[in-house]
Each structure stands twice: as structure tokens, then as C-alpha cells.
């Protein structure tokens, strides 16, 4: 240590400056910084082995949602919908691969520059501040060259990366989600339809106990790690030291035990799974004066607060992410 004296406001002040690297605080800080940088630079294996589990939930199943009122939004406005059916689970990678093969065969989708694209008729453009024009034409469904893409395309056939067959389809744009639903004469749910399916009706369904119709989560008032796949929820698919959170098979949180991991039955009042966590779900509303499309449900990458049924997220319709999927209604 080198000591120098100086005067400050008439008082003697001793200043200590670090020399020869013998400053303890400096060393600790340097060590912490080195540690942080080393951790930050660790490589990520996006294809690390994935545990496989059969959830016994059928991704081809549909749930009946009757017409009627429900509590909508955080502030519990009363809204109502007509009757509709909604998929019990998110669309899986396997289902999407089947769609791509069928759609490619009949020319509904095209391969362009490492992407699968499909036609969209465009939106009415009003030139509102920040609004981007969505013109009629071919738009991105899925990128094929992204390392997070679980659909593998060999030049003629789409297949699923092993282990991901029953995982939710991700890395799919709003156009790709809409294109899937429309191909089968279905559609994406509106935000209201999505929320009603997640939250249940304004009057409790017979036999369901524990939480009221204003429940913030599909299963009730509180959330535990075993209810859903969210950030740092310690499920069997995540490793926060390397690749972080990954998707879980659709319907995973059904009360079943997988090895040592016991899940809680987290179905919504209408029997839907994964309406909170795992992947954000595209909804179908196109709002006047903005090009953003809205997503619901939170994901494997968000904290529990974003899994509340009324929480909204949005992005441009071409946005793709390992944490965004969808399901359809009819």
C-alpha cells in the first residue's frame, strides 16, 4: 500500500491506493468479474439430450367451451363468448411436421431461402404511429436454418428432431400458426376465447373446488413449481447452468409422476393443459392501427407473474422464438 497525505477541508486525509496488486477489495472484484465472464462464455449445446416422457395426454383432443360469461382481464370485467372448441394442448412439433408435409405437397407453403413461407392476405394499414404495413403476400411460417428449430427438412420431407415429437411447436411465426389452423379450417383463438378457456366460466363448473372463477392461474389462485414450466421452475428439462429452460411435452403437468418428478394436475376448468407456462401462445386478433400480434400464457422463459391468465405479450407477426407456440379453435 502506498500512503499519500493530502489536505481536505483542513483535515488530514490519508489516501490509500492499490499498488503491486495487493489490494484485497480489488482482488475480490477482479475475481468476481473473471468468474462472471467465464460463466458468460460457456458454450450452449442446443441439442443436449432431452428426457422423454409419455404424458398420456392426446394432442389431438379438443375441449368444448360453452357459450356464456366469464371474468376477463386482471380487473375482472364480465365478458362473454359464443360456444367453440379449443385444442386441449398446444400444437406439437409432430403435428406441425405433418401439416408441412401435407401443405408442401399441395402447394400451400413454399421453401424460400431457408424458410418455409405461406400466403397471407394482408391487413388494412392505417398509418398509425409505429404501425408497420402488413401487405398481402408470402410471409415467414418457420425458419429452417435456426439452430433452435426442431423441424428438420431434408429438401423434400419435414421430420421432427428426435425427442421433440410431443413438445409444443416453437420457432413458428404468427403467420405460421395461423397458416396451420387455417389449413384444417380452424383458426387461432381470439384473446377472449383464449382467456375464457384458461380461466373458466363466471360460475364454477360442478365438482371443481379450490378456486373461484376469478382465478389467476388455470388451476387456481397460487402457483407452485410443479404446476407449470416457467423460468427456473426446476423441471426435468431445464439446466440453468447451460441451456436454461426448455419446453416440456404437452400435457406434462397432469398430476403424473415422471421418474422422481411429481407434477401437479394443472388443467384449466375446461380440461386444457399448458395454458400457463411452457410456451406463449399466439392469438388471432388483428387490432386496428397496429401490426403487433398478441400472445398469452407466459412461457418457460418467464417468471410466474407472466403466467397469470390475463397477462399479454405481443410481437411482430414474423417473430419466432423457442418460447412461442400456439393452439387452434374451431
Amino acid at each position: 500500500m502506498k500512503r499519500t497525505s493530502m489536505s481536505l477541508r483542513g483535515r488530514k486525509l490519508e489516501a490509500i491506493s492499490c499498488q503491486r496488486g495487493d489490494c484485497f477489495a480489488g482482488k475480490i472484484t477482479l475475481l468476481a468479474m473473471t468468474f462472471s465472464i467465464l460463466i458468460s462464455c460457456a458454450p450452449v449445446d442446443l441439442n443436449a439430450p432431452m428426457p422423454t416422457f409419455d404424458t398420456s395426454i392426446d394432442p389431438n383432443a379438443w375441449a368444448q367451451i360453452p357459450a356464456g360469461e366469464f371474468y376477463y382481464g386482471q380487473h375482472e370485467d364480465i365478458e362473454s363468448t359464443n360456444a367453440y372448441e379449443i385444442m386441449v394442448t398446444d400444437v406439437t412439433v409432430g403435428q406441425y411436421a405433418d401439416f408441412l408435409n401435407a401443405a408442401q405437397a399441395d402447394g400451400s407453403v413454399k421453401i424460400e431461402d431457408g424458410k418455409i413461407v405461406g400466403y397471407y392476405p394482408g391487413d388494412v394499414f392505417r398509418g398509425v404511429k409505429h404501425e408497420e404495413e402488413i401487405k398481402a403476400g408470402d410471409w415467414l411460417y418457420i425458419p429452417l436454418d435456426d439452430p433452435s428449430q426442431r423441424i428438420q427438412f431434408d429438401g423434400s420431407v419435414s421430420s421432427v428432431q428426435s425427442g421433440y415429437e410431443n413438445h409444443p411447436m416453437t420457432m413458428v411465426s404468427w403467420f405460421g400458426a395461423r397458416g396451420y389452423c387455417q389449413y384444417y379450417d380452424w383458426r387461432l383463438p381470439t384473446e377472449m376465447e383464449w382467456e375464457k378457456a384458461a380461466r373458466g366460466p363466471s360460475t364454477p363448473i360442478g365438482g371443481q373446488a379450490g378456486s373461484g372463477p376469478t382465478r389467476p392461474f388455470p388451476w387456481g389462485d397460487e402457483i407452485a413449481r410443479e404446476n407449470a414450466n416457467f423460468y427456473a421452475s426446476r423441471d426435468p428439462f431445464e439446466d440453468m447452468r447451460s441451456f436454461g429452460s426448455r419446453t416440456s411435452p404437452v400435457g406434462f403437468y397432469n398430476g403424473q409422476k415422471y421418474g422422481d418428478y411429481q407434477t401437479l394436475d394443472s388443467a384449466s376448468p375446461y380440461g386444457l393443459y399448458d395454458m400457463a407456462g411452457n410456451v406463449w401462445q399466439w392469438t388471432g386478433d388483428v387490432y386496428e392501427g397496429m401490426h403487433y400480434r398478441f400472445m398469452r400464457g407466459g412461457s418457460k422463459d418467464t417468471y410466474d407473474m407472466d403466467l397469470r391468465v390475463w397477462v399479454r405479450n405481443n410481437a411482430t407477426p414474423t417473430y419466432v422464438s423457442p418460447g412461442v407456440g400456439f393452439r387452434c379453435v374451431r
Binding site: M6, L8, R9, R11, K12, L13, E14, A15, I16, S17, A25, T29, A32, M33, F35, S36, I37, L38, I39, S40, C41, A42, P43, V44, L46, Q74, H75, E76, V128, K129, H130, S148, P216, F217, D221, E222, A232, M240, R241, S242, F243, G244, W280, G289, M290, Y292, M295, T302, Y303, M305, R308, R312, N313, N314, A315, T316, Y319, S321, P322, V324
Partner: protein, 501 residues
């Protein structure tokens, strides 16, 4: 009994005691409530804290809780700034006593009953007291505006009446008629703060009455916002900006900012503050389409004034530190600049703020549609909340650096205290900034190791800062048990007497 009364007199009757109590309150709230989110929640600490303190966290009320938490902490910071102003600037003793008393009761009532209401069940009497506390702080603000009235002949600039110590009349900004322009800057900031508080109180009552609370970052992309929603967004921006402007003025006063740069800076500060406020209030008027432009026009002179303070104070530190060297080289100048972290730190933090807050904000504004609005709204939310958390924390570190000087820290302790605050906070703020901007250079799928590294840096930086603060608080607490402790010396200290020569 007399011993207790003496200590209470110090804690609630002296400037340094009041500041100590407010810092302790903020430290306590930050330490406890900091365990309810982020990595602490991931590690399961939140569950332990919630259970141990018997908190009642209803999911649907999260946004309301957070609004009350922000206000509780912010009011204590406003109180600290108020104590500094009443101790640094000349004002009638009645005003000083009344302002300090009212704002002390105000922020403590706001904090205790606000957090009590928000986190420990809904006792509506507590909510009423929370609002009452906020009202008291508003009233203290009104009194402050009156007390600071710069055209009062008593406060006309003259050597006889000026309590700033050395320096001729010409050293400070004033009008030909002797109106103190620095005092006018304090006045303008206090006045616009009071008006801007009202700008938030009206929509706050509107939404609170119907319990339709929301966080501004969650509605940022909706094209159709109501006037009340715009008011909320404007309020939160301007209040933080005004707290930052006020702390800049306070630091300038403490360092005894003067000379030609002072004469340029103070009018700029007044101009900037007024225009900035007009721009922000404009978001709730038909001026909304050009409000941002007005805000930029206002922010520029304010930031320029802060830059002039920085240039002046760094120049002074270098001159004083190299006075014994005939022709100092760059290294010697640098050494002189950094020799006293408590005097160097506040302006350095203001400069650092440009990398972590202002620069990021301008970059976001310029490339909003091309970059940031392509990302999902939740990513944009991270940037927005990170951005203002850093600004708030930088203000806190500036206050802590000044507080270190108030404590009379000397020698080794002064160096350690100052540099720990500067280095650790800047590591944390830099890490937060990289975290906010990570999507520019890394994909979601590959981000986890980077996120982990940044979180370690943030937690290390902020955690160690809190440890330092805890050490200081424990030291001050033990000091209170000593009959002839440091507190006995501080009881009559006024900050105006400790302004730099």
C-alpha cells in the same frame, strides 16, 4: 429517559440524524423487498421471506403492490433531498422546521402504512394513512416552494447574507438585481416537482378509485392510450428526472459550484427543467404528438448543465491535487482527480449514467421501430424497467457518496467506502445494461450462460453494496449507544457549514 430523548432529538431533530433514519429505512425496505423477486425468488428465498413475515401476496394485486413499493422508497429519497436542501440553502427557521417535520411524518407514514396495506393484508385504514402520508409530503413540497422563493429580498445575492463561504459575489450566477439564479433553479425544480406530483395524483386517484391499477411498461405499445394513462407515464418519467435534477443541484451546492460555468449552467438548468416539464405535461394534451420533441429540447440544457458541473468539479479536483507539481503529466492529473472518491464519485456517476441510462434511452428512441419494437413486448419491458432501475440506483449511490462525506469519513475508510460504492455499483449497472441489450448480440436459445454471468455480476455488485450499507448502519446504530458518540457532534451540524471551500 433523557438519554432516549437526546437520541430521538438527534435522529428526528438534526439534519444528519434525519438523513440517517431515511437511509436506514430505504436500506431496510430494499434488503427485505429485494428478496421477493429476481434471483432471490428463483432460489426460493421469496417463499421463506413471505412465510416468515406473514405477507399476503394476492396474484391479481401484484401491480398495485409494486406501485405502493415504488412510492414508499421514492418518498424517502425525496425526504432525504429535502433535508439536504433545507440544510444547504438559507431559509426561515420556521420553514425549515415545518418542512422537515411534515415530510418526515409524511414519508414514514407512507412507507409503514403503504407497505402494511400492500403486503400484509388489506387494512383500509392503512390505505387511508398511506394517502395521508403522500398528502403530507405534497404539503411539505408546497412549503418548500414558498421557502425557496428566490425573489425575497432576504435571499438576494450579497456577500453579507450569503452563507456559501468563500467566493466573491461574482463567483455565482445571479441577476443584475441580485436574484440568486442557483436558488431559482432549486425553486423551479421544487415547483415543477409539486405540479408533477399532482400530475400523477389525479390519474392515481382515478385508477385507484376503480382499482384498475397498471404498470406503464405493460401498455407501452398500445396505440390508443387515454389521457389518464398518458399522465401516469408522464408522471413516472418526470418525477425520476426531477429527483435526478435536484440531486445534481444539491451536489453542485455541496461542491460549491461557482464561476463562469456556474453562471452558464444555472440558467440552463432552469430552462431545461421548465421545458422538460412542459413536454411531459404535454403528453396529456393535444401537444402529445410533439411532446417527445419538447422533452428532448428540455433534457438537453439540463444535461449540459450537469456536464458543466462535472467539468468544473473535475478541473478543481485536478488543480487542487496537482498544486504542488509544477507541470503535472496526465497520470498525475488522473491520480489527483481520483484521489477523493467521495468528491469525484457523484459527478463520475452522472457521467456513467450516460452509458447506462441516457445513452441507452436515446439509442432506443432512435432505433425503436427498427430494433426494439421487432422484439416482443416483454423484451422491451426489460429494457424499460432496467433503464429506470439503474437511474434510480445511480441517484441512490450519489446520495450515499455525499452521505459518506457527511459522516466525516477520512483516510482509508473514506477511500474504501467511496470506491466500493463506485466500483461495485458500476459493475452492477454495466451488467444490467448488457442484460437489457443482450438481444442485440445473442439469441434467446443461447443466452443462459450470459444471463447467469450478468446476474452474478449484478448480485455481487448490489449485494456487496447492501453489505457496505449494513456495516455503516450497524456502526451508526452502535454509535447511538455511546454517550459521547459521533451523533453528539452531528446534532448541530448543518450541511451549509460543510460546503467545500
Amino acid at each position: 429517559m433523557q438519554a432516549i430523548s437526546q437520541r430521538l432529538n438527534y435522529l428526528f431533530g438534526s439534519t444528519k440524524g434525519l438523513i440517517l433514519v431515511a437511509i436506514a429505512m430505504v436500506a431496510l425496505v430494499t434488503a427485505i423487498w429485494g428478496m421477493l423477486s429476481g434471483p432471490m425468488a428463483e432460489m426460493g428465498v421469496r417463499e421463506v421471506v413471505v412465510k416468515a413475515l406473514d405477507m399476503d401476496l394476492v396474484q391479481a394485486e401484484r401491480e398495485g403492490r409494486i406501485v405502493i413499493l415504488y412510492h414508499s422508497i421514492a418518498m424517502a429519497i425525496v425526504a432525504i433531498e429535502t433535508y439536504m436542501i433545507t440544510s444547504l440553502l438559507k431559509m426561515k427557521p420556521f420553514f425549515k422546521t415545518a418542512i422537515n417535520a411534515i415530510i418526515t411524518v409524511g414519508y414514514i407514514v407512507t412507507m409503514v402504512f403503504g407497505l402494511g396495506f400492500a403486503y400484509f393484508g388489506h387494512n383500509w385504514a392503512f390505505h387511508g394513512l398511506y394517502i395521508f402520508g403522500l398528502s403530507l409530503i405534497f404539503f411539505a413540497g408546497v412549503l418548500m416552494v414558498i421557502a425557496l422563493w428566490p425573489w425575497n429580498p432576504e435571499y438576494r445575492f450579497s456577500l453579507l447574507h450569503d452563507g456559501r463561504g468563500a467566493g466573491g459575489e461574482g463567483d455565482y450566477a445571479h441577476t443584475k438585481k441580485g436574484v440568486d439564479i442557483e436558488r431559482t433553479a432549486f425553486f423551479a425544480t421544487a415547483l415543477t416537482t409539486v405540479i408533477s406530483a399532482l400530475f400523477g395524483a389525479v390519474p392515481g386517484s382515478f385508477f385507484g378509485n376503480g382499482f384498475e391499477v397498471f404498470l406503464a411498461e405493460n401498455i407501452i405499445r398500445l396505440p390508443d392510450k387515454t389521457t389518464m394513462e398518458y399522465s401516469i407515464i408522464g408522471h413516472l418519467h418526470i418525477m425520476l428526472a426531477l429527483i435526478a435534477i435536484m440531486v445534481t443541484l444539491i451536489i453542485g451546492r455541496w461542491l460549491n459550484f461557482r464561476g463562469i460555468l456556474h453562471k452558464i449552467a444555472m440558467p440552463l438548468m432552469i430552462l431545461g427543467t421548465i421545458v422538460l416539464n412542459l413536454g411531459v405535461w404535454g403528453v396529456a394534451t393535444p401537444l402529445e404528438p410533439i411532446a417527445h420533441m419538447i422533452i428532448y429540447v428540455g433534457a438537453t440544457p439540463s444535461m449540459l448543465a450537469a456536464l458543466l458541473l462535472l467539468i468544473w468539479s473535475w478541473g478543481k479536483l485536478i488543480r487542487e491535487g496537482t498544486v504542488h507539481i509544477p507541470r503535472p503529466n496526465f497520470g498525475q492529473k488522473l491520480s489527483a482527480l481520483a484521489r477523493d472518491p467521495l468528491r469525484f464519485g457523484p459527478t463520475w456517476q452522472m457521467l456513467f449514467m450516460n452509458f447506462t441510462t441516457s445513452g441507452i434511452g436515446i439509442f432506443m428512441a432512435v432505433r425503436l421501430d427498427e430494433i426494439f419494437r421487432v422484439w416482443p413486448a416483454r423484451e422491451e419491458r426489460i429494457e424499460l424497467t432496467g433503464h429506470w432501475h439503474v437511474l434510480s440506483a445511480i441517484i441512490a449511490t450519489i446520495i450515499l457518496l455525499y452521505y459518506g462525506d457527511m459522516l466525516g469519513l477520512k483516510g482509508k475508510i473514506r477511500q474504501w467506502y467511496g470506491w466500493i460504492i463506485i466500483v461495485l455499483s458500476d459493475i452492477a449497472f454495466a451488467a444490467v445494461t448488457i442484460f437489457e441489450m443482450k438481444r442485440l448480440f445473442i439469441s434467446e436459445a443461447e443466452q443462459q450462460p450470459l444471463v447467469n454471468g450478468l446476474m452474478y455480476a449484478i448480485d455481487f455488485g448490489l449485494g456487496m453494496l447492501l453489505v457496505l450499507l449494513a456495516v455503516v448502519m450497524v456502526w451508526r446504530l452502535t454509535d447511538l449507544f455511546k454517550p459521547k458518540g459521533r451523533w453528539t457532534e452531528e446534532v448541530d451540524h448543518e450541511l451549509a457549514q460543510e460546503v467545500m471551500k
